[in-house]
Subunit: 486 residues, 2 copies
C-alpha cells in the first residue's frame, strides 16, 4: 500500500527513480528509522520493475547511509541524521490531574528502600511462594483447559467465570453470609474491588469512616478519590466505640460508607470479637451507613475459630458490601478477588468494571476455580495456617523479649504491629537499614498523621531464624536510641 | 474464640447451660444461619465439658429446630425463624454517581438481544477461538512455569513482566516506533489502557477530538469520564481534513487529546494512508494536541503492507501515546494490552494502575510472552490473516451483490461497515431478528447521534456459508422495506 503511488516517469534510469522515490518516503518519515524494507525481490514485484534496478537503488541508498543490511535479517532504514525537525515536547506532568497526582504521591513502592538479598526485610506481607503447591496448580491448569479449551481464552463476562461465581456463593454460605438477594462479582483482587465501589458510589468530598490505623492501600485509594477520611482509633483493646459514637452523633447523616477490616486487621493484626462486630453492624444500620467489609486474611482464621464476618448479620439486609480476596495468601500474581453484595449493586458495578477492563482474566479464574473446587485449597490453608501461626508466635515471643515496647497489637496473621515508647520509627528504620534490617514504619497506616512511634513487621517470607535475628537487631537499636536520649 | 466467654454457673444441668449459651449466640446472630458448629468432640474440648453434655445440648437444639445435622458434613445452625428484625434496605441506585450511571447507560451488553444458537450473528468482532492453537498454548504455559515456577504466581510489578516489556519494546521497534525516551506499560487490554490515560490526564469537561464514527467502547469510556467529544467525520474517502482544520482553528487550544484508530478503523474498517497519517501528526503537533493512537487490528495489516503507526513519526518527540492489544485477535480472555509512551507518562500511569488493580496477571503475561517469543505468534498471524482476509472479501462481494447500499467502507479487518440509502438500521435489525439474523446498528459508533442508516457486520466468528446466507437475508429485508416505502 505504501508503495502504491510509485510511477516511472521521464528519462532518468529506473534505479535512480526508485532511489529518489525511497529517499522521499524516508524524508517524509513514511519509512521510519529502523523500519524494515521489503526484500529486493518483493519490492521489484510491488513496483513492477526489474530486481536488478531495486538492488542498485538499495546499494546507492546504503552508500548514502540511509539503508543498512543485517545478514539474514534484511534491509533497514537509517534516518537518524534526518531527524532535525524540532521535537515535540509536551510537559506531561503539567497535564496530570488530581487523581494521578495523589496516586503517585502515595505510591510507597516509589519511595521504597531498594531491596537487596542481604537484607532481612520485614516489609512484605505477601505470601511465601515456596508454600504454593506448583504440581497441583499445573494439574488444575491442565484439567480446566481440557474442560473448557479455547473458551477460557476468548472474551468472557464482566461478572466472572460462572463456576467460580457459584463456588464463591457457596463459600460465602460457609461464612454464614449467604443471602438470596446478593451475588458475586469477580475482580482483579481487593484493590480493584475497593476502587470499583468508590468509583461507582462516591464523589470527591464524601466522608468515609474507617479504623485508624488501617490498610495503607485503602487510604491511598480513598485519598485518590478525594474522600474525606474519618478514622476511629484502634487502641490496645480494639475499636474505640466511644469515639465512634461521638463521630456518629456529629456526622452520622453525612457519612457515605464505613470501611472495616475485622479479621487480622492490617496493620494491627487484631481480630474484632463477635459482640463488637454485631454492635458495629447495628450502629451503622441505625445511621444507615453502608459497610464495606474487607475480608483481609480472614481465611487464616476461618473454620478454626468460628467468627463470622459482618456480612453474616446482613443476610436479610443489603447494607454490607463484602470484599474477599485469596491473593493475600494464595497466588496473588493472578489478582483474583471478589465482591459479595446486593444484586442491585453488583448489577451496577458490572458495567463499571466493563468500562474499566471488560473482565478479569478467564484463564486465571478457570484455573483458580479448579484449584479451589478440587479441595486443594483446604489442604493448602491447613498447611499455611500452621506455618504462619508458628512464625507469628515466634515473632511475638521475640518482640516481647527484645523490643522495649509500649504494647504489641494483634492476635495473629502475617504481621505484627508494635507501639514503641516514643521512639521515632523512621529514625529507627534508618539505623536498622545500616544493620541490614528493614520494616514498615507505622505512620503510613494512620489517617491522622499519627503513629510515628509504631512499626509493622511482616513475617510471611522470613525464616524463623531471620525473624529472631532481625527482631533482636531492631531491639538493640532501640536500646541504643534510648541510651542516647537519656 | 467465639466460645471463650462460656462459664458454668449455678445448679442447672451442664447440657442445659450449654444449650442456653448456644441459643443466646444464635439469637444474637453470632452464630449465623447456615453456619457450621464444631463437632461435639471439638466443642467439649473448647468448653471443657464432657462430650455427652454437648451431645445432649445439640439434641435439644435440634428438637427445637435451631440446629440440623447433615450426614458426614456436620451440624449447622438454622435460625431463619429468628430473622424478624426490620431489614436494612439501602436505596443503592440513588447513591450511584455520574461515572457509574453513564457506564451503565452506555453498556450495550445490557441492552443486547439474547444470543441463541440458531441466530446468524454479525454482532461480534471477537476472534474465532477455533483458530487458537491450544497445544502450543499449553506448551507455553508449561515452559514458562518451569522457568519461573511460583514467581509467576506471587506479586509482580505494576509496569509488567520484564521479558514481556522487553519483547513489546522490540515489537514497537519493528513498527518503526522505537524511542529511547519511551517505554511500555502492560495493561488489562485496550479498555484499561484508555481508561488509565483518561483517569490520569483528563477532567470532566475536557475536549477530545476523535473520528466520527469511532469505537463505541471508547465513546463510552470518554462519556463516563465526562469528556466533551468532538468528532471529525470519516467519509467514503477518509478523514475530513477540512472539518478538522476548521475545528482546530476554533478550539485548537482547548483540546486535551486527539484519539485516532488509523488501521482497520472500528467500525469503518478504513486504513488511513501514510500521507494522511503524517499530515494528521503534523497538525496535532502544530496545535500541541497529544495523540492517543489506538493500534486496533493493526496486527492484521502489519508487515504485509508497510504502513507505520503515527507513533513512528514521534520517535524523537513525546506527543503520541500508543495503545496496543493482542486481544482483538489472540486470547482476549487473558486481557493483555499495552501502552507505549514517554517514560514520564508511563511513570505516572504505573502509580495509577497500582491504585486500580496492582498489576496485570503475571501468569497471563508470562504465558503470553512465551507464546509470542517462540515465534508461534508469527505463524498464527499468517494463518488468521488468510482466514479473515477471505471472510472479508467474500463478505464484501456478498454486500455488493445483495445489499442496496449508498457505499461500503473499509479495506479489510474483522468487520465491514455499510451506509444504506436512508433505511433505518434499527428497524432493519428488528425485521432481520425475526429471520434469525442480527448485526450491530451503526448509530452506537457515532459521536453526534448520526448513523441511523449504517450497520456493522462482524465476520470473525461466522462461516463463509453463514456470511453469504446472512447478508442475503439482510439484503432481501432491505428490498422489502424499500418496496413498502415506495
Amino acid at each position: 500500500m505504501i508503495f502504491s503511488d510509485f510511477k516511472l516517469e521521464g528519462n532518468l534510469p529506473i534505479y535512480i527513480q526508485i532511489k529518489d522515490y525511497l529517499s522521499s518516503l524516508i524524508n517524509k518519515g513514511l519509512l521510519p528509522n529502523g523500519s524494515k524494507l521489503p526484500s529486493t525481490r518483493e519490492l521489484s514485484k510491488i513496483l513492477d520493475v526489474s530486481r536488478n534496478s531495486v538492488i542498485a537503488a538499495y546499494d546507492e541508498l546504503k552508500a548514502d547511509g540511509f539503508l543498512y543490511s543485517v545478514n539474514g535479517k534484511g534491509t533497514f532504514v537509517s534516518s537518524e541524521k534526518l531527524i532535525t525537525s524540532s521535537d515535540w515536547n509536551i510537559d506531561w506532568i503539567n497535564l496530570e490531574n488530581e487523581f494521578s497526582r495523589t496516586a503517585n504521591e502515595l505510591d510507597i513502592v516509589k519511595n521504597e528502600i531498594p531491596w537487596s538479598s542481604d537484607l532481612i526485610s520485614f516489609k512484605s506481607i505477601s505470601p511465601d511462594g515456596d508454600l504454593f503447591d506448583m504440581d497441583e496448580f499445573k494439574k488444575s491448569f491442565m484439567s480446566r483447559i481440557s474442560v473448557e479449551s479455547h473458551k477460557l481464552l476468548n472474551y468472557g463476562y464482566a461478572q466472572g467465570y460462572k463456576p467460580l461465581i457459584d463456588f464463591l456463593g457457596d463459600y460465602m454460605k460457609k461464612k454464614g453470609s449467604f443471602s438470596k438477594s446478593k451475588t458475586t462479582l469477580v475482580t482483579n483482587g481487593f484493590t480493584e474491588a475497593f476502587d470499583l465501589i468508590l468509583s461507582s458510589f462516591t464523589k470527591p468530598g464524601d466522608m468515609i469512616l474507617c479504623e485508624n490505623p488501617t490498610h495503607n492501600t485503602s487510604i491511598k485509594i480513598m485519598r485518590a478519590h478525594g474522600i474525606n477520611i474519618q478514622g476511629i482509633d484502634i487502641g490496645k483493646d480494639g475499636l474505640d466505640f466511644d469515639m465512634l459514637e461521638n463521630i456518629l452523633e456529629k456526622h452520622g447523616n453525612s457519612i457515605k460508607f464505613a470501611y472495616l477490616t475485622p479479621s487480622y486487621h492490617n496493620p494491627t493484626g487484631s481480630v474484632m470479637p463477635p459482640e463488637s462486630r454485631l454492635k458495629f453492624y447495628n450502629l451503622m444500620k441505625k445511621y444507615s451507613i453502608p459497610i464495606i467489609e474487607d475480608g483481609f486474611n480472614e481465611e487464616l482464621l476461618y473454620s478454626s475459630s468460628h467468627i463470622f464476618p459482618l456480612s453474616s448479620f446482613d443476610t436479610s439486609g443489603n447494607g454490607v458490601i463484602y470484599i474477599g480476596s485469596f491473593s493475600k495468601i494464595l497466588f496473588p500474581g493472578m489478582r483474583i478477588g471478589w465482591i459479595y453484595a446486593d444484586k442491585k449493586i453488583i448489577n451496577r458495578l458490572i458495567s463499571v468494571k466493563r468500562c474499566r477492563n471488560i473482565h478479569t482474566s478467564f484463564l486465571d479464574q478457570g484455573v483458580l476455580f479448579d484449584y479451589l473446587n478440587s479441595g486443594k485449597f483446604e489442604k493448602y490453608i491447613k498447611k499455611i495456617r500452621k506455618v504462619y501461626g508458628e512464625k507469628f508466635s515466634v515473632a511475638r515471643k521475640c518482640v516481647e523479649k527484645y523490643i522495649d515496647n509500649e504494647y504489641i497489637w494483634g492476635d495473629g496473621g502475617l504481621h505484627i504491629f508494635i507501639k514503641l515508647k516514643g521512639i521515632d520509627a523512621r529514625e529507627l528504620l534508618d539505623r536498622c537499614y545500616n544493620k541490614k534490617v528493614i520494616f514498615m514504619p507505622g505512620d503510613i497506616f494512620f489517617t491522622d498523621n499519627n503513629g510515628y512511634d509504631t512499626l509493622r513487621l511482616g513475617l510471611s517470607r522470613l525464616s524463623l531464624e531471620d525473624i529472631e535475628k532481625g527482631i533482636k537487631i531492631i531491639g538493640e537499636t532501640i536500646d541504643e536510641m534510648n541510651e542516647e536520649n537519656k
